[in-house]
């Protein structure tokens, strides 16, 4: 069909047969038709709210009428977001970074074992990784409050060993980071597992065949080959963790462990007239994450991601 119509066009025929032209048009429309539902979805539920949020972030409050706003270009909201809540931004990025680091440390050996050592247990391990998704995220986080409670097994053991100077895990950054690590672990495990599982075992053998011992083969062959998975996993952990507020809310303290997500939540729902600042906080967080992700991919990214 394509060849035929190309031939007609190439031959310089002015009154080309309409049938192939119609066919070609129909084919090029198919792609747009297929994109349409997704595109509409993105427009309605992503682009429009984002624009809306951006306009809100620039609004000013009506003096004397708390909770009422007018359209404005009030950059001051961003100033407030950055000065008053700088600590929360720092904490968000730090906690998310720590959680990503610990999740990576836990996930890589697990994914490696699943890909290369598990044998018939592979599916069982896969189910164990995915199973928590069948329970509510909130419920599981509340369960961690019991596990990490002052009288719980973890805290008492650490206290007994004199490894817990403060005496508490909950209400501290440790519980928040532990919760974030736990909740986002599967998002780290699955992409790493997928990239390791896809790696050709012969290529890893080739490392040994070419004079690299086990550790060198891992460092120079296996790890680089799994980098797409590592990058995907760290992004899937870091980005939602930086914006998370449930873990800090349920496991952290009311004062010292609040993250940006908690501030946005309280500005939106609890502070009268807090809408513009909450929107500015959301936009600042998004910009920060985008900038960090961009630098990260520039530094470690592979061709598959860029």
């Amino acid at each position: 069909m394509t060849v035929a119509s190309a031939h007609v066009a190439g031959g310089g025929t002015t009154h080309a047969d309409p049938a192939p032209a119609g066919g070609a048009r129909k084919r090029s429309w198919t792609a747009y038709l297929l994109l349409l539902p997704g595109g509409l979805w993105l427009l309605l539920f992503f682009v429009i709210p984002l624009v809306q949020l951006f306009t809100v972030s620039l609004q000013s409050g009506f003096p004397g009428y708390p909770g009422y706003y007018y359209r404005d270009v009030n950059i001051g909201n961003y100033g407030t977001a950055l000065t008053e809540f700088a600590g929360h931004f720092g904490r968000s990025l730090l906690y998310a970074g720590l959680a990503t680091f610990f999740a990576f440390i836990l996930a890589y050996p697990l994914a490696y074992a699943m890909a290369f050592k598990a044998g018939k247990w592979r599916n069982v391990m896969m189910i164990c990784v995915i199973a928590p998704f069948f329970t509510s995220f909130i419920l599981r986080t509340i369960a961690w409050r019991q596990i990490l409670a002052d009288d719980g097994p973890v805290a008492s053991t650490l206290k007994f060993l004199h490894l817990l100077p403060g005496g508490h895990i909950t209400e501290t950054w440790m519980a928040v980071v532990a919760g974030l690590t736990y909740n986002f672990l599967p998002f780290m495990v699955l992409p790493i597992y997928a990239s390791l599982e896809r790696a050709d075992a012969r290529v890893i053998e080739a490392g040994g065949d070419l004079y690299a011992n086990g550790f060198t083969t891992f460092r120079t062959v296996t790890l680089p080959m799994s980098m797409p998975g590592v990058i995907a996993g760290t992004l899937l952990t870091f980005i939602p963790a930086a914006g998370d507020y449930v873990n800090a809310d349920l496991l952290g303290s009311d004062r010292s462990t609040k993250m940006v997500g908690n501030v946005i939540e309280s500005q939106f729902f609890k502070v009268l007239g807090g809408f513009p600042v909450a929107a500015a906080l959301s936009f600042t967080l998004m910009a920060l994450i985008l900038a960090m992700v961009f630098l990260y991919i520039r530094r470690f990214g592979t061709e598959e991601l860029l």
């Binding site: 065949d209 004079y211 690299a212 080959m225």
Partner: protein, 422 residues
Amino acid sequence: MSIFGGNGSKATRGFREARGNLRLTGVTKEFGDFTAVDDLGLEVPRGSFFALLGPSGCGKTTTLRMVAGLEQPTRGRILIGDTDLTGSRPYERPVNTVFQSYALFPHLTIRDNVAFGPKRRGEADAGKLADDALELVQMSHLAARKPAQLSGGQQQRVAVARALVNRPEVLLLDEPLGALDLKLRRQMQVELKRIQTEVGLTFIHVTHDQEEAMTMADTVAVMNHGRIEQMGHPEVLYDLPKTSFVANFLGQSNLGDGRVTGTDGDDLVVEVAGTTVRIPKSRSTVHDGAITFGVRPEKVRIRDQRPDGAGNDVKATVVDVSFTGVATQFLVTVASGTTWAVYEQNLDVERNHLRPGDEVWLEWESGHAFGVPVNDVEAAAATVADPDAAKAEPRAHQSADTSGDGTGDGSGSDPDALAVPS
């Protein structure tokens, strides 16, 4: 070789320098209940091109992987020269592999792929060595590419360069040409042979393609069910197979089960396919009782009438005639009901007039006939080794002959075989 520069490498920790012939003694590999390699013994002289030929599952790749150190034998020893490599890790052996799937590192450029081995061994000029090796396989112009950007044939050359650059004592090739199309395969066969002659390393080539094995190797070992059936120079193996498995795996053979009825001078007299034929004693591994008679299809002539002479002939009916250009291939049924093949070169001015259903006589020189043990076919087909078959064909503990003049004999136990013209 000078192209690889000086030998100034710091040895990798645990690396074993070893020089000399590759020797396998009593090597057995079991995977659970399955014996992949069964009490294998062979010696490959330094600098020879050795082919391990066999059907899939015969244990040839397992043997190769044991030499590479990627598998450890259940029993037996693997040595290069006097250095025992059994139990050592792959990175400790002076052995490199060209993998069937090439197994190039996808995240590294071609140059870095080739430089990988020298770098691990601490060569100061790893990059230079890689460039030289790439030149040898004529791939210098693609050094900056990634493996995914190369065609199969190009990847294959890089895989060869990546192994060769290390100047291994033994280079292992695991069906490296299997993924290439026929034309490229022929070209690479010639190329590999050239490279082997140029660098003078021991090449061990695993393949299931008998033509490839015969074209390239000085010595071919035919493997079946974890054992070496026969080993020797390709011409000798083709001319005088010692088991019906070899007779059919290396080329094609017309076989018939018969019985030795007596001797006539240096010949055995054999009743087979409803006729009496002769096999020189030196060309038979069986000298009395049941015997499988064999003759190659291209050694058989088709006659319209019964030929006069020594009586190496049999009556047959033409079943199928196919014209292949240089030759015509006839399928015929002999008196016993077996189907034989006959290849005849199209030498006559007149075109072939035979049609299916025609009655013909087949004739051959007795010097082309051979005798192998019966039941060998069943033994080869059976999963459990037949003890009688094992007795008839003792397990190979042979020294490969690579004299290269075409007269080498694999077993060394049957010197008469050398006298027979091929």
